[in-house]
Symmetry: C2
Subunit: 217 residues, 2 copies
């Protein structure tokens, strides 16, 4: 139906719109996709013609209903494939994202539903991101980060924001995964570093950036 490139634009716009309730600018899309704002303008015109997005300078870019549906279906496939790669093929946490980036574009009407059934209708992917249902409904997603949480209390790791290999490998080294318990021992006011205790073990210090990429429950 749509080209791979168009799908990647829709997905990027969707992702940005999830992050925060800000205006989605051509520049923001360009950054997300790692290409030039001028190219984004070209594609914005094309996607508008196809009625997948609306755009004006005031409002920024917005997905139409059709565009949103497409984006959600792509995200659904991405996250289902991630579950498949981890659970069935035995890949590691940090390897699955890149492969799912390709698999999400496989075109077939019944594929997502079949995969969903085969995997036992999982609600979250291995990074804790909610897997949209067949009807487009998206399970609750987590938004509280370890960096925003009270000192002295324990939390369950519900999801990770950054899915880069670098971050996930670091987590692996620290023995942190989904469902790991983390206690925020202290917040260092100088640079917002976090002193944490992982699964009851001895204290470790991590950066603010680290904390902002861990979503807790």
């Amino acid at each position: 139906m749509h080209t791979l490139t168009e799908e990647n634009y829709l997905k990027a716009i969707f992702r940005i719109s999830q992050n925060a309730d800000v205006k989605i600018t051509p520049t923001a899309i360009a950054e997300a996709l790692g290409n030039n704002p001028a190219s984004v303008i070209d594609m914005i015109k094309k996607l508008m013609e196809k009625k997948l997005i609306d755009y004006d300078k005031r409002e920024g870019v917005k997905l139409t209903d059709t565009g949103l549906n497409h984006a959600i279906q792509i995200v659904r496939k991405h996250r289902l494939w991630e579950v498949f790669l981890l659970e069935k093929l035995g890949y590691n946490w940090d390897e699955i994202h890149a492969i799912a980036e390709e698999l999400e574009h496989i075109q077939d009407n019944t594929l997502a539903d079949r995969l969903d059934k085969f995997l036992g209708f999982p609600e979250y992917d291995p990074h804790g991101d909610p897997i949209p249902k067949a009807n487009g409904k998206v399970p609750k997603s987590y938004s509280v980060t370890l960096a925003n949480v009270k000192e002295g209390q324990s939390y369950r790791v519900a999801a990770v924001k950054d899915t880069s290999s670098a971050f996930l490998q670091y987590l692996l080294k620290l023995n942190i995964g989904i469902d790991t318990d983390i206690k925020l021992v202290e917040k260092i006011s100088f640079d917002n570093s976090l002193v944490i205790s992982i699964a009851g073990k001895e204290n470790t210090t991590v950066s603010q950036k680290f904390g902002e990429n861990i979503l807790v429950d």
Copy 2:
């Protein structure tokens, strides 16, 4: 490593080279891919520069060792994915080829091996085509067609040559699948039609073209 288009050329060249020991011409490749001979010439130049094929007018197109390896790996992935789609996701015989055409291009070094293991190291895909092993070895493939076989004898369907939906749906209607027993009752000399008995049932008549696309054992 290579573009999707390049991979499709390698695969087409490989497929043609399997069929028969004939010279592989630009025209033949163009027909296989459904595009123009002029375009094929462009791509031949490119693939020669990349040392994936050799070409001269006398000899036609030949895959180099590197090119052959690439082609085999693509075919391996295609056929493994077909097994997956049929056995794990419950697709029908006639649906899997088209989806596998996309899946075969997913790039990851360990993917084929993991899939192979997950599926229990199958030797043949659902159309009876041999699945190349990790080391590039290809299990025995079948070459005797129902059209070339003696009257009065029974054979096991080992594979199908044509994997188009149209042909596979016809087979489904006739209740023919891999391992079905077919007896060649009579060959009509007028047009080489074949009178056959499927799994011991009453006689049916099929065309020469039909018979040429059934490989038997």
